[in-house]
Amino acid sequence: MAKTKKVIMLGNEAIARGAFEAGVKVSAAYPGTPSTEISEYLVQYKDSLYCEWSPNEKVAAEVALGASIAGSRAMACMKHVGFNVAADPAYSISYIGVNGGLVFMVADDPGLYSSQNEQDTRMVARAAKLPVLEPSDSAEAKEYTKLAFEISEKFDRPVVLRITTRLAHSQGIVELCEPCANQDKPYVKNIGKNVMMPNNAKPRHAVIEQKNAELALAANTMDINRVEMADTSIGVITSGIPYQYVKEALPNASVLKLGMVNPLPKELICDFASKVDRLYIIEELDPVIEEQVKAWGIEAVGKELFTVLGEYSANMIKAAILGEKADFAQPAQAPGRPPILCPGCPHRSVYHTLKKLGLHAAGDIGCYTLGAVAPLSVVDTTVCMGSSISSLHGMEKAKGKDFIKNWVAVIGDSTFMHTGVNSLINMVYNNASGTVIIMDNSTTGMTGHQDHAATGKTLMGDAAYAIDIPTLCRAIGVKNVISVNAFDLELLEKTIKEEQQKDEVSVIITKTPCVLLTKGRKPFCVVDTEKCKGCGLCLKPGCPAITKQADGKVMIDDTMCTGCGLCAKLCKSGAIRLVKEG
């Protein structure tokens, strides 16, 4: 294969390219930062592969499994918490192995840029007995993706390609190669291998232990497990992005760079350890490599010096190992700037109303989690996809119908289609009385506008049947299903009050598109400073485009304002006027 061209690529883009070059036939995913862009970049290769948004990661993993059993190379992409959703199929696919190569692309988020926890996928993969590859830049991301498919087929193992936010969202130089020839294999009927009932799974467990042992042995001589021998006073075992920090901080140290972090190359590690005076193990998050190496009786320093929290850096490594503190000015005191709902976001209007009514919200995963942030502070709980509805149900069963008269569950349209609908089925089935607000903004917003089963369009750009959320809710037995525009404040308030009083499940759908879905110049609001009394009513919903001036009156930043008009509706002095320029 002739190398053709050097380009700069996001880690996620490089993985998509690697999948294309590896001859992937099917890829399924649910959007989740930092993994989302892989699928978006895959679409450009749609002439030679199929890719889709599945409603959730369990479904995506099973779609990939089916493609693999049928004999094609397949991939499922997700973020770390999505891998929990896919855990059920993943643990048992591990027993089945593959026909066509099968890769789970899982992105961790050390530092929690956009996640609800900081879990380490290597731990999950070890528990599921899945091999794990970990690239450390965009070039490796592409090559390791291809290698993952080769290893998958050679050792009959589904392979996890583990990346972190810093790799997913950093760009580096990649050399493009031609895609490999068709990798498809024939389907082979094999009930003993593909039907996981006890009598089949029992022998399969022994088989996969044997395969993993063979892989561990092969790992000792794999190119991606690379020794860079230099000064032997310091030796470092590392992998992934931390490798880059190590090279920056300790340019003279000897390094064992692990491209495969499960199973580990024991012989290679023992040999490396014996050649260096002091051995460090530098890995972000959990001591996955360290605990195994120490269990082999090798002396090493790891989490004694390095945290299990957040991301690492070269400065951190220099300080910990060399005692060298970086020289820089004292950071200034600056008020924080947490993320907030955008100007014109329909969720703000809904939260403003909930706050006015003194209600608590069981929240969910999406932009609307930001309803927990001041001044709104309406969202009391957020755990995982779909949990708003089921946890509201649990509250009712614990404390009774009256307790949840002050509560609603809030969930987005994409999250509702992901796993929320299961929880709603449960409410209907178990005679609940709670109110669920589906904040339908016609997209998967937080991750940057991906389609889903209720938007009418597929990842590949084809028209699809748009599942009608009100019809779906009625079909599962919800009797009270009401759609309201999020910015119709009066009707929204009235509807919420009425539905809260009912002793059966209600679903209110606030159907108003995400303000970022439409491009171009939007209308905006202006303040008549003569009329503004400085009462501050318009500031209550916490729109970032409105600021209070020194004289107490407000000013609207016309570069930020999108003309949703919420502030104008709240103003009792008629001081805010909408300018329709766009």
């Binding site: 969202h169 000015a329 700037r337 409105i546």
Partner: protein
Amino acid sequence: MATRNIMIVGVGGQGTLLTSRILGGLAIEAGYDVKLSEVHGMAQRGGSVVTFVRYGENVYEPIVEEGQADVIIAFEKLEALRYAHFLKKDGALVINDWRIDPMPVVIGAAEYPENIIENLKEKYNVYSVNATEEAKKLGNSRVFNLIVLGVAAQHMDFSVEQWHKVIERTVPPKTVEINKNAFDVGYQLVTE
């Protein structure tokens, strides 16, 4: 050449991503090894956003650390203040003289610091521009980031032709002219 470290800081939605991609494209065109780090997802929603661009012979880590930045491009004053300590001694701090109140300030839980630019000038080489005003003169207040980039370009080692070429390739086709004009305004502006 020692690796050059550039940071772009601002508020989510101000176009830090586009600016870093222009810079990255430029460095790769000039034949350097390049790494960029971006911010996607929740942090982008009106939050404090920082992106890194590093280029040189051989670049390892994709981030710029405290005390290492040759140039910091700040699209907003408070963000300049927040990240100024990332600047190298004698590095250049280019600031858009523009204020966006963070939510703690909007709701009165915190004060927006006074005289940010004046205070930063006491410690750093500051070049400030009211790019939003300058952009309004061009008839589109949204191209302010190219004006700030133009000012920053005065402190970097690429030619105007190189900048123009990469702007042409990176911004949407319809906006090439106005973005190039905006860059030129910044590039020719005398700042202190």
